[in-house]
Symmetry: C2
Subunit: 146 residues, 2 copies
């Protein structure tokens, strides 16, 4: 990562190992085995590029929520989120057409659910990965009172 | 992952752990620790959503190359690729504006470099993640004769 005014660079590498498998690497971070998924003649039980794409949207939204909650002084008990990305043929080419995010936020005792919903919606709208993809991103939140 | 004609669904989840860290999970796959990167008040040495986004483009291109090479009966010795994603402020919002892919392909003895270049270019053009993002994807290949 290098900084140049408001520009950030992210570098990762991938190295083919065998069949449809490889290893992802980034400086100073643990290696991660990756593979083509089974439905494209790849392998079970290994992170695929499709998984990583959907995960990046999901994690970015959480990351943005954590920043917004921190800035607002809003504390909560737990956050977990399932994301579902839909890959479809469009004009003969596969692309991700939608990503549904289903965050489940458990509030602190007495926490304000309306404020939680507002922060989640603002986080989804500001997520920089969502801003960088063509798929429609939809938020389907569950708020659990503490 | 579920199949419904030519539609595939990819599900991953993320769970907040502490500070700006979380754990990514997908059914049957190893968990991966993730975090907001340091430049956004996060943590060093942990995979960030930005890393995963760039990695997904890089891995998808390799995956597509492996499929095309297999289909063409083209064998090679080694493939590794560095990818660099550029995150910039555009109209007040961060987004990825470009991803540069630098595959280094080592040919088998007597392998045809022109064919290799053609397969790499076709893989980049067909990569389903590249088809799903707004950033410009550029291929800067190095072909090493075997």
């Amino acid at each position: 990562m290098e900084v140049k005014s408001k520009t950030y660079l992210y570098r990762t590498s991938v190295r083919w190992t065998e069949q449809r498998k490889g290893v992802l690497a980034a400086a100073g971070k643990p290696d991660l085995q990756v593979a083509t998924p089974p439905e494209f003649k790849g392998h079970e039980g290994i992170w695929s590029p499709e998984d990583l794409f959907v995960a990046s949207v999901n994690m970015c939204t959480m990351s943005t929520f954590l920043a917004f909650a921190d800035r607002a002084g809003y504390t909560f008990h737990a956050y977990e989120s399932e994301a579902e990305g839909r890959l479809e043929l469009v004009g003969g080419k596969f692309q991700f057409t939608s990503v549904i995010l289903r965050p489940r936020l458990t509030l602190a005792p007495g926490g304000d659910p309306a404020k939680a919903k507002d922060l989640l919606e603002k986080a989804e709208a500001a997520c920089l990965i969502s801003n960088s993809i063509t798929a429609r991103v939809t938020l389907d939140p569950t708020i659990i009172e503490g």
